[in-house]
């Protein structure tokens, strides 16, 4: 990922943004004045650092600055990738509804791969355990009624690779756990 970041070209004020991204790979300093601490390390002013973060937030380069809970450590041990075959004409409406559920994190429209893979909507469902996830998936199915043609839920059984992925589009992406999502 750092390679991708280093090559990324569409940053404004590129040098300061790139240096801030590199410097915050491990997070924001846990000190009373974190933006000043970053500024000191980069030889710029805290106002410049804060203005740069605000600009990156406004452009969506920074989704947000926040704490990311490790859902596995917090007891959310069931993480299922639910997949849904929704008629194309309805998939955006359904995606908005499913994405708004409080136990769904990421919800995406993706292409089908017929005939093997009929599903065009993916929603990550998080619960205390697998049974809870199955109940939540059934709840989604009930909510969708006749708008869903078929669905399935895939649980991860092994993490095969998990590299540094902090500069990620996913906000709940890096629990150091043995099961993953």
């Amino acid at each position: 990922m750092s390679e991708a970041l280093a090559k990324a070209t569409s940053l404004n004020n590129g040098d300061l943004e790139r240096r801030l991204i590199e410097l915050t790979q491990a997070g924001l300093p846990l000190v009373p004045h974190p933006y000043h601490a970053l500024a000191d390390q980069l030889g710029v002013t805290a106002d410049e650092v804060m203005a740069t973060f605000r600009a990156m937030q406004a452009r969506g380069v920074v989704r947000r600055i926040a704490a990311v809970p490790n859902h596995y450590r917090l007891g959310f041990r069931g993480n299922g990738m639910s997949v849904w075959d929704i008629p194309d004409a309805l998939v955006r409406e359904v995606g908005r509804e499913v994405g708004a559920l409080d136990f769904v994190s990421h919800c995406y429209i993706r292409p089908r791969a017929l005939p093997d893979w009929p599903y065009n909507l993916f929603a990550m469902v998080h619960g205390r355990n697998r049974d809870a996830v199955h109940e939540q998936v059934a709840q989604i199915a009930g909510m969708l009624g006749e708008r869903v043609r078929s669905y399935d839920v895939l649980f991860s059984t092994e993490v095969l690779k998990k590299t540094g992925f902090r500069a990620s589009a996913h906000s709940v992406s890096t629990p150091p756990n043995p099961k993953g999502e």
Binding site: M1, F53, A67, R73, P111, S156, V159, L160, K161
Partner: protein, 154 residues
């Protein structure tokens, strides 16, 4: 309430709940948050360090969106015969562009995220994985995202 949460004090839970919503960009963000939480800056910083060390928080800081920086992701999957699973996992994992790789309980049993600096690199990475494994690589690029961050109320 599960065992993991019983280990957490009310203050720790309030911290986790509040800081998922965001850390402000200002002179003294932790002091501001501490005020909202009815504690003080020193205590908050100490609890944050402890929650991070204990693994309850995986990250405290900016979440970057690589796609807005010119990079690109895709989700891809393979249907790997059981007898070849470990061998194929080894081949796939060697690719530096493969960021996450999970085994899942399905005929599509290997799911991985490919992350590249240029969107045009995705096709070439997937075709190299196909050539190296001899397996069809199914590409499931995101077409639309309904991104409503999960909030864990603890």
């Amino acid at each position: 309430m599960n065992a993991a949460l019983q280990e957490l004090s009310l203050l720790d839970r309030a911290i986790i709940n509040r800081l998922q919503d965001g850390i402000p960009v200002c002179e003294a963000p932790y002091a501001e948050l501490a005020g909202e939480l009815g504690t003080d800056e020193t205590t908050l910083l100490r609890r944050l360090q402890a929650l991070k060390t204990a693994g309850y928080l995986s990250r405290i800081g900016p979440m970057y969106n690589v796609e807005r920086m010119g990079g690109a992701f895709t989700l891809a999957a393979l249907q790997v015969p059981d007898a070849r699973f470990d061998e194929v996992a080894g081949i796939v994992n060697v690719f530096p562009e493969v960021a996450h790789n999970y085994r899942r309980d399905h005929a599509f049993n290997m799911w991985f995220v490919v992350a590249v600096a240029e969107a045009t690199d995705i096709a070439s990475v997937l075709s190299r994985i196909k050539a190296a494994t001899g397996l069809e690589v199914y590409n499931f690029p995101k077409q639309e995202e309904f991104y409503l961050r999960l909030k864990f109320d603890v």
